[in-house]
């Protein structure tokens, strides 16, 4: 699969590394060049410095041929906008968007975006761990 990832933080870098190891074609975008240091030396994908809500940057990263787009920056709104650009303008088949704010996540899930909320997931894990004792 062709995978475009926006945001090379801990999650973005780890996800990119996993998919690259499994033989997929990975492109990863981040505003900050230093972020790519999180990728291992043997990472075989492509890296792009730029703003993920800029269509030209997305095109350079190969979004027109992408099967998957994952928006994983630490800005909820940036992820939301980039994910909608991927879906509505580039018609990427699978678009996944991380949203930390549970309320915003709920709204965009209802609008049909595939979203996940680490805040919700984390709180749930804590809740279950405490109750399991």
């Amino acid at each position: 699969m062709n995978i475009v990832i926006l945001g090379c933080g801990r999650v973005g870098a780890l996800f990119a590394t996993m998919m690259d190891r499994e033989g997929h074609a990975v492109s990863i975008i981040d505003l900050n060049n230093d972020a790519f240091q999180r990728l291992p030396a043997e990472f075989g994908g492509s890296i792009f410095v730029g703003n993920g809500v800029d269509e030209d940057v997305l095109i350079r990263a190969g979004i027109q041929e992408a099967d998957v787009f994952a928006a994983l920056t630490n800005g909820d709104n940036r992820n939301i906008m980039a994910a909608q650009i991927a879906r509505e303008i580039f018609h990427v088949n699978k678009v996944i968007c991380r949203i930390y704010d549970p309320m915003r996540e709920e709204t965009y899930r209802e609008l049909g975006l595939e979203t996940f909320c680490p805040t919700q997931v984390g709180a749930q894990i804590l809740h279950d761990a405490v109750l399991a004792q």
Partner: protein
């Protein structure tokens, strides 16, 4: 009307003041601490500290009874989310967003935002439509060939009016490709005997060096 303004920069501040003066109920939301304080000192209760993207803030200000939400922060992604949340979560009838990057127009429209205001685009179109009788607009640059595609309007008082294309002294690296008549809106692919009329819109290919010469041939000053 009850109007919520997201983003207390210069635009947000003046919009709030003007709407307030017109007798509307206006609430300005600003998240930055020191900026909030100075707005609060001047506008008092009409300013709320918070994030217009956050449901918590929007619940507090009663967004569900707002008639209009205006998003004028300096970040397009924030303006987009403010308007989409207002529409989807609070069923606000009318949302207006400031568009910072004109390239985001398409996605903003697809996002269902009712009205887009693009200062960048407004300034560009003002420049293009300024002095309409002597309009000279570069439409397209063919970089490698060093050519420009331009549009100019023949001023009524131009020396070219009433003359045929063959009679005009035009620069060599130039081709008049198309004329659109002002009155009839007919198009003409000009030949040497085609006569220019007042307010003709002329589309031409011209080398960058010959642009000024072409302009003066039609009396279209910059």
């Amino acid at each position: 009307m009850y109007i919520i303004v997201g983003g207390g920069g210069d635009i947000g501040y003046y919009v709030t003041k003007s709407l307030f003066a017109q007798g509307h109920e206006v609430l300005l939301i600003e998240k930055g601490g020191s900026r909030y304080q100075s707005l609060r000192d001047e506008l008092g209760q009409s300013v709320v500290r918070g994030d217009a993207c956050e449901a918590r803030t929007m619940d507090e200000v009663g967004a569900n009874r707002a008639d209009v939400v205006i998003a004028v922060t300096g970040e397009d992604e924030d303006n987009m989310v403010i308007c989409q949340m207002a529409k989807k979560r609070y069923k606000v009838a009318r949302t207006i967003a400031r568009l910072n990057n004109p390239k985001h127009e398409e996605i903003f429209k697809k996002a269902g935002i009712d009205t887009l205001v693009s200062p960048t685009k407004s300034i560009l179109s003002l420049i293009e439509s300024d002095l309409p009788s002597t309009r000279f607009v570069p439409l397209l640059t063919l970089k490698n060939a060093g050519l420009e595609v331009i549009e100019l309007r023949v001023p009524a008082e131009s020396d070219a009016v009433g003359k045929a294309l063959g009679e005009l002294k035009l620069p060599p690296a130039c081709n008049i490709a198309l004329i659109i008549r002002d009155q009839s809106q007919e198009f003409v692919f000009p030949a040497a005997e085609t006569v220019f009329l007042p307010n003709d819109d002329v589309f031409a290919l011209v080398s960058r060096e010959s642009e000024a010469e072409l302009r003066s041939a039609f009396g279209a000053t910059e």
